[in-house]
Subunit: 228 residues, 2 copies
DNA sequence: TTTTCTTGTTGATCTGCATCAAGTAGAATC
DNA sequence: GATTCTACTTGATGCAGATCAACAAGAAAA
C-alpha cells in the first residue's frame, strides 16, 4: 500500500491472485520494468493501465505551476498505482529506484468494473485503504511539526521494510531528500537538519544518506505517534 | 462529493439509483436526520452503515491525543460518507448544520460487495473520486500559503453551492472558523485575518460571519489556482 | 588526474503564521 | 431589561521552519 500513514491496516493481495480466481486471460496484463528516474505515467495522460509494484519504489506527485511540488505517495511492492475515477491520471508517477511492475490493461469496453465483480471489489478495498492512509497523511501535513513528520515517515518505513540487524532495524531510503521534503511539506534543509537531530540524539544512525538504522524505535515512535 | 479540491470532476449518482437499478430491497436503507452538532459516527465504531448526505453539511475529522484536530472533509448533498476498508470508522463524523442523510445498511454477510457488482462499481467510483479530491487537498495542506488555502476553499464552495446575486455569487458558510482552520491546517486567528484581508481587498463581502459573497471571482481564483 | 555536476549538510537570517491577549457582538439565559 | 456565553475579530509578540548562502563529498565527465 501507499506509504502514507504511520500504521497500515491493509493486507495487500496481488491482482494476479484475483485475476486467476476469475480465470482472466493472461493477456490482460504483463510485467514491465522502469529504471530509476523514468516516468511510468504523467498527469493528464489517458489512464489506460493500473500498475502493481512488484519490485523497487515509485513516486506519485503533483506540481503547482510555479514549481512547488507535492509528493502524494511512495509506492512499494504490493501497492496499486494509477486507479482513476475518470480515465485520466491526475498525478505524475516516476520510478525512484529500478522498478518492476505488473501492468493491468483495462478492458476496452469502458470504465466500469461491474462485469468483473471480484476485481472491482479488490480495487474498492485498495481504494478505501488508500483513502484511509491519505487521511492519516492529512493529519501529518496539517497538524504535525517537522520532527513529528520525519519520525512518522521513518516509522512507516521501519514497519514496512525494516530488517533487524543486531538490535537495530535498518532500511534503505531510495528517495532523495527533496522527495521526502515534498512528501512531508517541508524543505530539504529542514529534512536534513531533522535527520541530523535524530542522529545526534542517537535515535537513528545514517551510514550514508540513503540508509537508515533505527537504534531507539520506541523513542522514534514516541516522536511520531502523538496521534491517538 | 467531499469538498476538498478546487476542481471537482465527479458526477454524484445517488446510491438509491443504483440500488433501484438492481431491485434491492428498500429495507437495506432508510433516511435519517441529525441536528447541527450531533454525531453520525465516531472513530473506532463498527462501520455498519454508509451514508449519503441528502441535505445539510457534515464534517469528518480526526483527533491527535493532545487535542490537535484535522478536519478531513465537509460532506455536502450527494456525498458518500463512511466507506471503510476494514469495517471500522477511522474518523469522527458530525452534522455541521441540520442534516438529512440516507443510511445504507451493509449486508450482514460480510465485507465484500462482490455480490453487488453495480453497487461495488459505484462505490469504487466514489472512492477513486475521493482519492482524487484528497490529492488536491494534499497540495493545499503541504504547499500552499494561508491566503492560497482560504481562497482555494472559497472557490470550491463557490463552484459547488454559489448562487448568483447581482454580479456577486453568494453562499452560506455553515461551519465555524475553527472547522475551517482545522480543515486548512491553520489557526482560527489566521483564518479570520485572511477573511478580513480578502474583504478589505474587495474580493469578497461578509454580510455576517457565516455568509460569503464573492465580488471578484477571477481574483479569488487567481489567488487559489496557482496550481497547474 | 582534474573539473564539473549533483546531492546533502550546516550556518545565518528572515518571515509567515502561531501564540498570547484583549476586545466586540450576537445569542441564550436569567 | 441585564448577564453570561460563545464565536469572531484584531493587535502584539515569538518562533518554527523557510530562505539565503556557503561548503562538502561522491559521481560523472573531461
Amino acid at each position: 500500500m501507499y506509504v502514507t500513514s504511520p500504521v497500515s491496516y491493509f493486507e495487500p493481495v496481488s491482482i494476479d491472485d484475483v485475476m486467476h480466481q476469475h480465470e482472466l486471460e493472461p493477456a490482460v496484463y504483463h510485467t514491465s520494468t522502469a529504471e530509476a528516474g523514468q516516468p511510468l505515467f504523467c498527469e493528464g495522460d489517458d489512464a489506460d493501465f493500473v500498475y502493481e509494484v512488484l519490485e523497487g519504489v515509485v513516486r506519485t506527485s503533483k506540481l503547482l505551476c510555479d514549481g512547488r511540488r507535492q509528493v502524494l505517495a511512495f509506492g512499494y511492492p504490493g501497492d496499486i498505482i494509477g486507479l482513476s475515477h475518470d480515465q485520466i491520471y491526475h498525478s505524475d508517477c516516476d520510478a525512484v529506484s529500478d522498478t518492476k511492475v505488473r501492468v493491468y490493461h483495462k478492458n476496452a469496453s469502458g470504465t466500469s468494473f461491474a462485469d468483473e465483480p471480484q476485481l472491482c471489489d479488490q480495487f474498492l478495498r485498495h481504494a478505501t485503504a488508500e483513502v484511509h492512509d491519505m487521511q492519516e497523511h492529512f493529519l501529518m501535513l496539517g497538524r504535525k511539526s517537522a520532527v513529528e513528520k520525519v519520525a512518522s515517515f521513518l516509522v512507516v518505513l521501519l514497519d514496512r521494510v525494516g530488517e533487524n540487524n543486531d538490535c537495530k532495524s535498518c532500511f534503505s531510503l531510495p528517495m532523495s531528500r527533496s522527495d521526502i521534503a515534498d512528501f512531508l511539506g517541508l524543505t530539504i534543509e529542514t529534512v536534513s537538519r531533522t535527520f541530523t537531530k535524530l542522529r545526534k540524539d542517537k535515535i537513528i544512525e545514517l551510514p550514508n544518506p540513503h540508509r537508515v538504522c533505527v537504534c531507539k524505535s520506541a523513542k522514534l515512535r514516541a516522536l511520531a505517534e502523538r496521534s491517538s
